[in-house]
């Protein structure tokens, strides 16, 4: 074997936290140390190179190391494995580091791993395959070819925009507005087609929204970190199409690696003349600038983001006049999400009509989701639109952890909604999710099992939004404050008859009367859980019972002696030392010490930690006999 090998070490944020950098160092050292012996007849330096790539998406199994061209994927690699990996090059893969599929068989190739098998990577096409700091890596995979062709051949902007319209691409940031139409509108106003313009060319701006803020969502971070040139090329094409000479990448300041990689990519793109004062010698200009977000969730909202770029307070404005007409400094502005932009060079390379073949009739292409929560395989996945929830959760995600029962999947970030089991076969696209009271949002997907309390879930999200609302308009700020108070009351046993109806009434007020989309969608977590899990709300309020056994004020824990195997896991997990027992004596919970945190139940593998309605205090008073039975295991 004399072929040169590339060792691709995943250095996304997740893997870096798991010491991927040390793994890469160790592999480099091992390659150098192995010398010519490792690969017969080839100089050590040519035999293998180590490349640090972006995120492969399967973070919980990181650090991930891939060997090309053999197409071997290793998981949970530690620095100590480096020598073994290098020694195996050209021979048998290191079995201990391969993934085991659901049938417990070892899989070598990435595409044989059930997590990756049915993914279709377009937005994530380069991530994990290239070193984001090396522009040649991006170019080797077809990067900047489209931009260069458009500019050198002076393709009319209308042609570029039409291609986007034909592709059916819709904004991946959440709202799902057709990207091509947005570009066309802005280009029209910029060229003087606007109603109140005098016919002269107006300055226009392009922006990339990288202010990802949904808890549990990290698709944009991964793209910015792993394929910054893809985003820059998309933004540069957008600028060409609408006639902008200035653009901004608004990236939240917490995304340190993304900021670093995008800055470096901007510098190298400018050095190659893809952006700057004289693009590819044509005299065209495009200045791209990074603006760091200050950590406000609401600044992901388009108008608040523009306020923030202008140096104003990040509060949304009404969108009776769209940003495509009057955005930044009142000039036509296109704002696209990171994932939207990274799709653009791909679409123009393959053709809009070809792209439109993917996905569903009204939502074309693919979508990146961050699949997290109670599933066996969590991570970043990209699938064609129209894949069913069941496919995402049970095939790619490998089903529910510990074989528990699926209860709901929360989609669309904090202002998304919870979708129950009866809609598991729902085909996921923009309209399908909205119809069910949830939304696509940026693509967060949190899977919940029967140990999740839906009232508590609603309370958590409403609490998040109450803090992250900009606080400008009354319904959103005050409505969320009251909803949070009522939900807290319900989860702590102070719910009152009529609370559910009041929550609905407040929710409708927010939906109709709020200023921006944050407020209009903020009641979704409450309204969708009331819609599908009303009985759970009622149990809290009227019976004083949390059916899922989550809300501490309403829940007592006990150990079912018959099911208990005396494994001691619960005792070890208990933070207050409330559990007594050993092989001889049955395990029991001392109720005087128990704080109902649920750690014992989470630790138990035999369903022997059970819950029932609280037997003491105010909450139990109205609970009666219904609270005595075993309500959940």
């Amino acid at each position: 074997m004399s072929e040169t090998r590339t060792l691709l070490v995943c250095c996304g944020t997740g893997c870096l936290a798991n010491h991927a950098s040390e793994v890469a160092d160790a592999l480099e050292a091992a390659v150098a140390a192995a010398g010519v012996d490792a690969v017969v007849g080839v100089e050590a330096s040519d035999a293998a190179t180590v490349k640090r790539t972006g995120c492969n998406g399967f973070c919980e199994n990181g650090p991930i190391v891939k060997v090309h061209p053999d197409d071997i994927s290793y998981y949970k690699v530690r620095p100590k494995h480096a020598e073994k990996i290098v020694a195996s090059l050209g021979g048998e893969p290191v079995k201990a580091l391969l993934y085991r599929n659901d049938e417990k068989q070892l899989v070598t190739r990435q595409l044989d791993n059930p997590f990756y098998a049915s993914q279709r990577k377009i937005a994530l096409r380069n991530i994990g395959e290239i070193d984001p700091l090396v522009i040649e890596d991006y170019q080797e995979r077809g990067g900047y070819v489209v931009l260069e062709r458009i500019i050198r051949e002076a393709v009319p902007p209308e042609t570029v925009i039409q291609e986007l319209i034909d592709s059916g691409l819709r904004g991946r940031g959440g709202a799902g507005f057709p990207t091509g139409i947005k570009w066309k509108t802005a280009a029209g106003y910029a060229r003087g087609g606007g109603a109140d313009a005098d016919g002269g060319q107006l300055p226009a701006f392009v922006c990339c929204n990288g202010d990802e803020g949904d808890p549990g969502a990290f698709m944009d971070r991964s793209i910015l970190e792993g394929d910054p040139h893809g985003v820059i090329e998309g933004l540069a094409i957008c600028a060409y199409a609408v006639g902008a000479e200035q653009g901004f990448l608004y990236i939240r300041d917490e995304y340190g690696l993304a900021l670093k990689n995008v800055s470096a990519a901007l510098a190298s793109a400018e050095e190659r003349g893809f952006i700057g004062d004289d693009i590819l010698g044509t005299g065209r200009k495009l200045h791209l600038e990074i603006v760091r977000g200050g950590g406000a969730f609401v600044c992901g909202e388009s108008t608040a983001l523009m306020q923030s770029i202008e140096g104003q307070l990040g509060e949304p404005r009404a969108k009776y006049i769209r940003s495509a007409q009057r955005g930044l400094w009142d000039y036509p502005t296109v704002l696209n999400n990171v994932e939207t932009l990274v799709n653009v060079p791909y679409i123009l390379a393959c053709g809009g009509a070809e792209y439109a073949k993917l996905g569903t009739a009204r939502s074309s292409g693919t979508k990146v989701f961050s699949l997290v929560g109670k599933v066996n395989r969590t991570g970043l996945i990209e699938v064609p639109m129209g894949a069913t929830l069941r496919h995402l959760i049970f095939d790619i995600g490998g089903g529910i952890k510990n074989d528990r029962a699926f209860k709901a999947v929360q989609t669309g970030g904090p202002s998304g909604g919870c979708i129950p089991e009866q809609y598991l076969d729902l085909e996921v696209d923009f309209d399908g999710l909205t119809e069910k009271g949830a939304m696509m949002g940026s693509g967060g997907m949190i899977v919940m099992d029967d140990h999740d309390c839906m009232v508590e879930v609603a309370r958590y999200y409403v609490g998040f939004l109450a803090e992250e609302s900009c606080g400008k308009c009354t319904p959103c700020r005050e409505g969320l404050r009251h909803m949070q108070a009522i939900l807290t009351d319900i989860t702590e046993g102070r719910g009152q008859p009529g609370d559910i109806e009041l929550l609905e009434r407040l929710g409708h007020t927010l939906q109709q009367a709020s200023l921006c989309e944050l407020g209009k969608t903020a009641p979704n977590p409450v309204l969708s859980t009331i819609k599908y899990f009303r009985d759970e709300y009622e149990a809290h309020i009227t019976a004083g019972v949390c059916p899922a056994g989550v809300c501490p004020e309403l829940t007592d824990f006990y150990i079912d002696a018959e099911a208990c195997t005396s494994c001691n896991a619960c005792k070890k997990a208990c933070p207050t030392g409330a559990i007594e027992g050993d092989k001889e004596r049955a395990y029991v919970i001392d109720m005087a010490l128990c704080i109902s945190c649920g750690s014992c139940r989470a630790a138990c593998r035999f369903d022997s930690v059970c819950t029932r309605g609280k037997a003491r205090g105010k909450a139990a008073a109205g609970a009666g006999t219904s609270a005595e039975g075993k309500v959940a295991s």
Binding site: S469, K472, T474, R477, A513, S514
Partner: protein
Amino acid sequence: MSETVKLVIDGKPCTCEKGDYLLEVAQRNGIRIPRMCYHEGLSGLGACRVCIVEVVEAGRSRVVTSCIYPVLSEIEVFTQNEKIKELRGMVLTLLARLAPNAEGVAKMAAKTGIELPRLAVKEGGDTCILCGRCVSACEALGSGAIAKVNRGVTKEIATPYGEPSSECIGCGSCAFVCPTDSIASERTEESFTIWGREFEMQRCSVCGMPFTTQAAFAFLQAAQAEWEPGAEQQPPLCEECGKKAVARQIANAGKYL
């Protein structure tokens, strides 16, 4: 050349210039839409949501904020149908819980007939409804002594770090525009105190009456010097004496016509 747009408000056919704000169009046609943060001298804030109305355009209905909604096409407007009554009532109820001591708000909220004792009064809530008029007035005057700080349920109006602001000129515009008299200030012959700062009063050079703060007068003079470089600095004149001075100028100018 501006374009004329036809619209119907609560059944009444009206016309306006394209781009006019709906609340003002209604007002000109004798229909007063309830409002709280709207002020004719400040650009639309759209914060309180009391002036929401229902707009039907080409069969599509939506709830809009009339103070910042530009009329661009033929629409039908409902300022007090059942839907709007409910939503506006809820908004006013929310405002009344936020500012339990604001009398005007309490009166408007009482009229809605909505009683929701389950909604608790905000802890520490007094008269401020967080509409932002004061901040807007301060900005419009060219200062920046106060701002909306924090976000979400913790939002408040304050000076930087809650300390007396060096930007404040004691002009009192913030208190003047406040719809609920929420900004505390104290005025004597000699001084004006607001936002934790005490300002010396400026007396009129003619009648001797204190009419603004010295800091505010100096600010205006500086602003004037910027607008009209080289122009003669005006002596401090109270409103009354200022009017007289202008009247004299006009009279003198007329003499030689």
